[in-house]
Each structure stands twice: as C-alpha cells, then as structure tokens.
Amino acid sequence: MGEGRIVKVSGPLVIAEGLGNAKMYEVVRVSEKRLIGEIIEMRGDRASIQVYEETAGLGPGEPVYTTGQPLSVELAPGLIESIYDGIQRPLDKIKDLVGDRIERGIELPGIDYERKWHFEPRVKPGDTVEPGDILGVVQETSVVEHRIMVPHDVRGTVRTINEGEFTVLDVVATIETKDGTRDITMLTRWPVRRGRPYAEKLPPHVPLVTGQRIIDMFFPVAKGGAACVPGPFGSGKTVVQHQLARWADSDIIVYVGCGERGNEMTEVLMDFPELMDPRTGEPLMKRTVLVANTSDMPVAAREASIYTGITMAEYFRDMGYNVALMADSTSRWAEALREISGRLEEMPGEEGYPAYLGSRIAEFYERAGRTKCLGSEGREGTLTVIGAVSPPGGDLSEPVAQATLRVAKVFWGLDATLAARRHFPAINWLLSYSLYLERLEGELSKTVASDFADLRREAMRMLQEEAELEEIVRLVGIDALSIKDRLSLETAKSIREDFLHQNAYHEVDTYTSLAKQRLMLKAILDFHHMALDALEADVDFDKIMELDVRDTIARMKYVPENEEERLNSVFQEMKTAFSDLVQAAGGEEVA
C-alpha cells in the first residue's frame, strides 16, 4: 500500500501529497492515529481527503496510508438490532471499548466475526447457481431470515455446501466457476457509493401501510417509493419518521439518524425492544438496523451515513424483502456536503451548496424502488426511502427542499401553524401530495373495501371546501353561511379532529389499521349525509350538533382494533339517533 504526507489540515479536510497511485473514493488512514478518511478529489499526486474523525492535532508532515479499498460496508448476519455510526462502527462495542464518549482512531468491524450462526443450505452440491441465487439461510432474529446469496461476480456449480454452525468468515460453500473454485462465506463487502445491482426495476404498486391515518388514507407511499417530510423545527418530522419505523408493514427498517439529536437515537434504543410489531408480535428491534451519526459527531461521517444506511437496505431488498429506510435529516447530510465543498474551495451554487447538490440528492432517492432481484428465482424486493428535510426557517424555497421535491413522489408538508396548534401529525392536507394515489387506489379498494377511494375523495373535497368557507367566515362572520355550509364546516372539523389528528403517544391511537381507518371516515361521512337528510326534514341544526353520537365518533380513535363490535355499533347508534330526531321534528310539524 502507498504512503503519502499531509500538507494541509483544515477542519475535516486534509490534503496530502505523494498519493499518485491512489484512486478516487479510496479509503485512507491518516497519521499514526490511523483516522479513517476517504479521497474525494485528486490533482496530480495531491489528494483531498475527507476525514471521518476529529482532525485536531493533525499537522503537515504526518503520514497518510492508502488501503486500496473504497468506502464499504460489511454485509452478513448480525446487522439487525445493531447500532452503527456513519461508517458502520458498532456504537455498543465502542462503548464497551472506550466508555461513554467516542474517541478517535477506533477500529472495530461492523459485524461480529466470532459469533456462530446456524446455516441451512437451500441448494445442494451439483446445482448450478448464478449471482443472487440463495445458497442458504440463517435465522438472524426471531423475525428475520437472513438469506445468503451468491455474490454478484460468481456463477457456476455448487461443489460443497454444509449445514451447521459457522462464523461469518467460515466457508459455507464452494462453487466451481469457469475461473476456478470460489469459497463462499456469509460475509460480503459492498462499496457504499454504488447502488447494488438488480435484474430490473419495476413500478411500485403496493401501499406501504403505516397505520398513520393521514398518510395511508390521503397521501400514501408505495412500497419501493420515495417520500419526503419537510418542515420547520418542532413540526414533527422525527415523530413521523419514528412512527413509520414503528408501524410500517415493512420486513426490515433501516433508520438513519443523520446529524440530529443523540436523545432521539436513545429513544429508539429504549422503545424498540419493548414495542411489539402488530404483525409478528415480536419486538420491533428484531427487524431494525440503526445508523446514528448525531450532530456532535464528525461532520464528514454524516455525509457517509446516508450511503452506509442505504447500502445495507439494498442488501436486504436483494434478499426479496420489503425494506424501508428513514433518513432524518437529509438537510444535515447536504450541509456536510456543503462544508466539505467549501473547504475544497469549489465554486458555490445557491446558498453556498455545491452545484452538484441536486444530482446527489436525485441519485440517493433513485436508489429506492421496486426491483426484480438478481437470481434465477426472479424474486421481488422493494426499498422505500423516506427523507426528512429541515429547511431554514421552514422556507421551502431553499435548495435542499427544492432538489428533493423534484425527485420524491410523495410530499408530506409539515406546517408550523398546525404544530403550534398541537394538531399532529402537522401534515398540511391542502399542500401535501402523493403521486402514487391513483396507482394504489385500485389495490386498496380491492384489499380493504370497494368504497375506500370514494370515501377518501369525498373527505378531501370537504376539507378543500372548508378552506374556502373559512375565508368567508373570516370576512363576514359565521352568520353569512347557509345551514348546509355550516354543516360542512362541522364535518370538516370532525375530519380534522377525529380522523386526521393522531396522537403518537396514545397507546391505541398511535396505530390504526386500514379497515378501522375506513370505518372512522365512513362514520364521519355517514353522519354528514344523515344530517343533510335531517335538515331536509326540518330538523333543527343545533339539535343535530348536540347528538351524543358525535362523541362516539370522536372517540373511535381510542377504541382498540379488536373491539370490532364497538366500532361497528356507531352506525346503528347514528341511525337510531337520526330517525328519532326526524320523527320528533315530523311529529311537531303535524301537531
């Protein structure tokens, strides 16, 4: 391996000479402290290196060692339930090694090399295999079966393969290829800046069910889709991301905390082993990988953390799983990019961001998708990407938000005004959109109920009408409205408060199945229709507003999923209440 010398140190950027043989994006070790860095620019034999650790104390003259390797992650059983820093160093083991604080120059593999796993073959000697084929499986956690795939550059006939207890470095199979015999272990490495290969990209068509009513009903994201959550501070980006990591019907979750708070990662670490996945009944941690590069950790590693996370996510996608990746916040990643770019003295674009910001963001979101995986089996996998965006002052005209909106297909726009009124999730229903809506509607109407799409449309129409009516009320007062309009306002209010508003911290309200979502919305709209009929039959508006059944509707969100009878009883209650009202009104008239 080559060796160069530092000539300049400026924050996370180090420039070294004598590295003529090094390659772009090669990992280097900086100084005798062996800090990890990556070459991001080459000019003659001068390399610019972004260093993933604090550079204080480094100076010109100190050595730089090349490694010949690009920045890579290690992929093998043992990923799930781990918590890594931005370059896949295990934070739990770092704590065991050096205590409460992260020191420099720590070298630890991301995967436990000693732990033994039970490997169960899925092919036998003599079988021919191609890249992506599943050689065997390991039960990694109670819910995740880790599928060991034929590496992307191996094709041939299985010579040996054994069931048994192996470490990730042990040879579990040998494959006869045209260039000789290849030993296969359970561990593979993959460079983080390159997407993992697949056979074919397919359009996403199945919804990612999140249990969050405003998302599933109005702005759904497809499995394999890309969504973004922009919003000012305190508007609920992290809570949305956490909620999705908790309740989305995904097989694997990769959660990347990128330049955000330490306590938010601690919260996940504390809650996820306790919370049960509604589908498997097992702790959520059993399907989760965490990447944490908090805001006080070195800024260059923040840039890498996003790629580290998405490469791991792609690896599970390749096994044929539905994977969802949350990145909170992509703005911090972009800022890291900006900082390095500034130190490289590149020509700045808008707001100091490098001119290539847009293409980097697009490349990242394009790694999402529904794909046909490599392998003769033709299995499908999906990778959904959900990125938080933190625009300065909540102003979406800034470069990161704008570049993101160009590529993300779903936009959940968080609104400071809603958040200030404690209407959570503070997703603005008039501004947000999902480009998957039409494509998913058919699927939802089939799996949930045929009126699913109609309910959604009617509710959305009422919300839009509300915005117009409120404008009138602001100008001339409520008395200017017709009784029907007043009813519409009340119904819209009910949609907002009883349906859209969802408390992440309430044990029942935190998650709602699609079936229950439909019931809730149907109850609200049925009430509206019956009320319209009642008004026709001369029932007094105030009498309708005083009906107890409105309370029952408002409380549906707190009724547990399994109490179906109680949920359904609201419709009978409503019918009775209205027919009583109409009868009373009719009776009076006759009298």
Binding site: K8, V9, S10, L91, A292
Partner: protein, 460 residues
C-alpha cells in the same frame, strides 16, 4: 523549550498568519508574546505546509509583525478543573477575575470535549420543578434537557433564568442544582444582576461563572461556552452533581463566529453566518444530557435574543433545530405587565411527556396540560375574532373562552419573580381556571379526573 517564531506575515481582523513553521497541528493552542508583559492566545485554524493560520482570541490591537513572538503549545485549549472552582468567577478564557487565588487543577481537560456515544445516553425523564407554572405545568423541563429561552431585547430573560437557577429542584430530593453560568458579550449590569442574585441567595457557593462582557474581546467568547460546558461535564459526570448551565447570550456568540468566518472569506450561509453554524452550535448543545450509570446530569438553558423578535433568524432557527423545545418570551405579554411573559402556545418542551404523570408529578397532569393548552388557544382565537367583529359576534361559549384566556394569562402565567409554586399549586390553579368553562367542553380530560379534581363552583 518550545520553538519561538518571529515570522508573523499578516494580521487582519481576528486572524494572523505565521510562516516557516514546523510541526504545527490543526486546532492547537498558540501563545503570542506581544510585548514583554503581554501574552495573548490563539488557535490554529489551518495548517498549510509551513504556513499556519491562527485565530486570535484577544484581538490584534498593538500587535507588531516584526516583534511578535509566537509559540505553538502542542495541545488544544484546556481548562484546569477542580472542585475549588465552585463559588468562583472566571473570565471568558477561564482565568480567575474575582481576586481569588489561581485554581490548582485536579486535571486539565480539552474544552472541545468528545461526542457522547448515543448508546451511552440515558433518556432524560426526571421532572424538574422550577416553581414557574407556565414551565412546570405546560412546558415541563426534565433533568438533562436542553431548552433555550428565545427572548428579545428588553425582555426579562435574565430575571427568568435567575429565578429558574434559584428555584429548580427535583421532586423528592432536597438536592439543589449547581449552576454553571457562561456569559458571552452581555453587559456589566446584566452579569452583575446574576452575580448579585447568586450572592444574595447563597447560590454562589454551588456556582461557577465564566464572564465575557460586551467590552471584552469578541473572539474570546467563542471559547467561553465551551469552558462552561467543560466545567459542567466535570461536575456532572465525574463529581455526580446535577448541573444547570445557563449560557447568555448565544446571539453574541454567533456573531463572533461570523466575524471569524468573514475574516477567512468563507462562503457565507444565511445572513452571513457560516454554513457550519448548525454543527458548531450542536457540538455545544449536545453536551447536555444524562449518561447511563452516571449520577449527575447537565441541563442546559441557552438564552438567545432574537434580532427583531424574528423566530426565523438563523441563530434562533438553528438552535430550535438542535434543542429539545423552546421557551418563547412575548413582547405583547411583557407590555401587559405579565411576568414571566412566556407565550405558552409556541413554547414547547419536547421531553415533557416522559417527565410527567403519576409518580412523577400527578396523574392528571397530561390531561389538564392538553386541556389548558387547547382552551387557551381557543380563547385567543375568540379574542382575535372579537377584535375584528366585536363581542356580539362571539357565541356564549366563545365569550367564556375569551374570559378564560385573560384569566389564564393574569393568574396562571403571571407570577412574582420570587414566587415559587409547587407542582400541586400549579395543577390546582389550572383546575380552578377550568371552572370558568362549561364542563362539557373539557373533552381532553378523563371523566374520573374531572370528578376527582374539578373544584365545585356555585355557578355550576
């Protein structure tokens, strides 16, 4: 003997360039002998071949290129710590200014600290009683939280911070907080207010103060908050103390940062502040918290004066993106004579949920908090409507809410600077105010609590 250089080639603003140097390290501490009896300090911002770019903490006035002698000390900026620091006052660079003796350090710690491993953090969840209803009742502070006060010039943030420092306790323990106070660029009078208040109440015995005043070198205040946090970390995580850190005023700190950035001709971010300001602030704020297996904690209250009361100003905005909520002071309430003028609607403590409820405060806390909050919001809306369309436009209920909003500000938010309410008093006061509203409107409170806690009123 350290090598001495007389090769200063350039001085501009807070920056200095030294040529023909050897073995200079990024971030190391620099001593500049300006004259026989004056030594100033600096820090290496860039080590480029044989050229070092140095940031001067005490400014460049009187510095002569030919005669200045420069020494590179081979270490970062350090603070010597010991328990003897308690009760003492230091300047913004950690030198005693109270006439007392030098501190004999137990050890020296680099003021930049190392990031806390998120895996080692303990989630903050212990309720701190500040005795202030608007905080305890609605925006509850917990041990280890970082909660800034967003203020404006002329608003009583100093009084509020001093009151919190005086009154903060954790229920069930008589333990008092130690206070570390970092003053950056505030006036003598404001600093004196804190010092006198600490003296008057005896809090000075458990306080450490780092004071950089408005007329002290501006660049020095870049290290002041780090000095304060280093002292706090020592007290909290090595000496098991619960430490409350007050940093005032972050706005001045950020301006010093901008000055250095501008001198380096860096590409500026919003309003001329450097693009790395988020990271810079985060490396300070994130030093607050709790750590598993350690008894102590650091609770951080940074104070910011919002330029033009603008919440979207970069200093305020970036702070909000890092801290765990905010306490917002409103000029309008201040004008009405309400102290503390906390606007509870845009204020938020993000960690409140884990710090309240049975066993921590009281079972009814969460419900009444939501109810008071919602009722006040509705009351304010009603008042707005009233202002446009007149009282006649309000429904009977809205009139009640409007009245409630007034009473809430007058009795719940408003309290004396010496008034220390227990959490029971705060919660009971909340219930008392709720009697102004029709019971059927108390939708956010469980029936059982209404029966148990709502006072009887004749009018009902």
């Amino acid at each position: 003997m350290l090598k001495e250089y007389r090769t200063v080639s350039e001085v501009a603003g807070p920056l200095m360039v030294v040529e023909q140097v050897e073995g200079v390290k990024y971030g190391e501490l620099v001593e500049i002998e300006v004259s026989k009896d004056e030594v100033r300090r600096g820090r290496v911002l860039e080590a480029d071949g044989s050229r070092a770019l140095v940031q001067l903490f005490e400014g460049s006035a009187g510095l002569n290129l030919a005669s200045a002698k420069v020494r590179f000390l081979g270490r970062g900026i350090e603070l010597g710590v010991s328990m003897d620091m308690l009760g003492r006052v230091f300047d913004g660079f950690g030198r005693p200014i109270d006439g007392g003796p030098q501190i004999i350090p137990e050890k020296k710690i680099d003021i930049n600290g190392n990031p806390i491993n998120p895996y080692a953090r303990e989630y903050p969840s212990e309720f701190i009683q500040t005795g202030i209803s608007a905080i305890d009742g609605l925006n509850t502070l917990v041990r280890g939280q970082k909660l800034p006060i967003f203020s404006g010039s002329g608003l009583p943030h100093a009084a509020l911070a001093a009151q919190i420092a005086r009154q903060a306790t954790v229920l069930g323990t008589e333990e008092k907080f130690s206070v570390v106070f970092g003053a950056m660029g505030i006036t003598f009078e404001e600093a004196d207010y804190f010092i006198s208040d600490f003296r008057r109440t005896g809090a000075i015995e458990r306080a450490v103060l780092f004071i950089n005043l408005a007329n002290d070198p501006a660049i020095e205040r870049i290290s002041t908050p780090r000095m304060a946090l280093t002292a706090a970390e020592y007290l909290a995580f090595e000496k098991d103390m619960h430490v409350l850190v007050i940093l005032s005023d972050i706005t001045n700190y950020a301006e010093a940062l901008r000055e250095v950035s501008a001198a380096r001709m860096e590409v500026p971010g919003r309003r001329g502040y450097p693009g790395y300001m988020y990271t810079d602030l985060a490396t300070m704020y994130e030093r607050a918290g709790r750590i598993k297996g350690r008894k102590g904690s650091i609770t951080l209250l940074p104070i910011l004066t919002m330029p033009e009361d603008d919440k979207t100003h970069p200093i305020v905005d970036l702070t909000g993106y890092i801290t765990e909520g905010q306490i917002l002071l409103a000029r309008e309430l201040h004008r009405k004579g309400i102290y503390p003028p906390i606007d509870v609607l845009p204020s938020l403590s993000r960690l409140k949920d884990k710090g309240i409820g049975e066993g921590k405060t009281r079972e009814d806390h969460a419900d009444t908090m939501n109810q008071l909050y919602a009722a006040y919001a509705r009351g304010r809306d009603a008042k707005e409507l009233e202002a446009i369309l007149g009282e006649a436009a309000l429904s009977e209920d809205d009139k009640k809410f409007s009245k409630f909003a007034d009473e809430f500000e007058r009795r719940y938010v408003n309290q004396g600077p010496e008034e220390n309410r227990t959490i029971e008093q705060t919660l009971d006061l909340g219930w008392e105010l709720l009697t102004l509203l029709p019971v059927r409107e108390l939708k956010r409170i469980r029936e059982e609590y209404i029966e148990k806690y709502l006072p009887d009123t004749e009018s009902a």
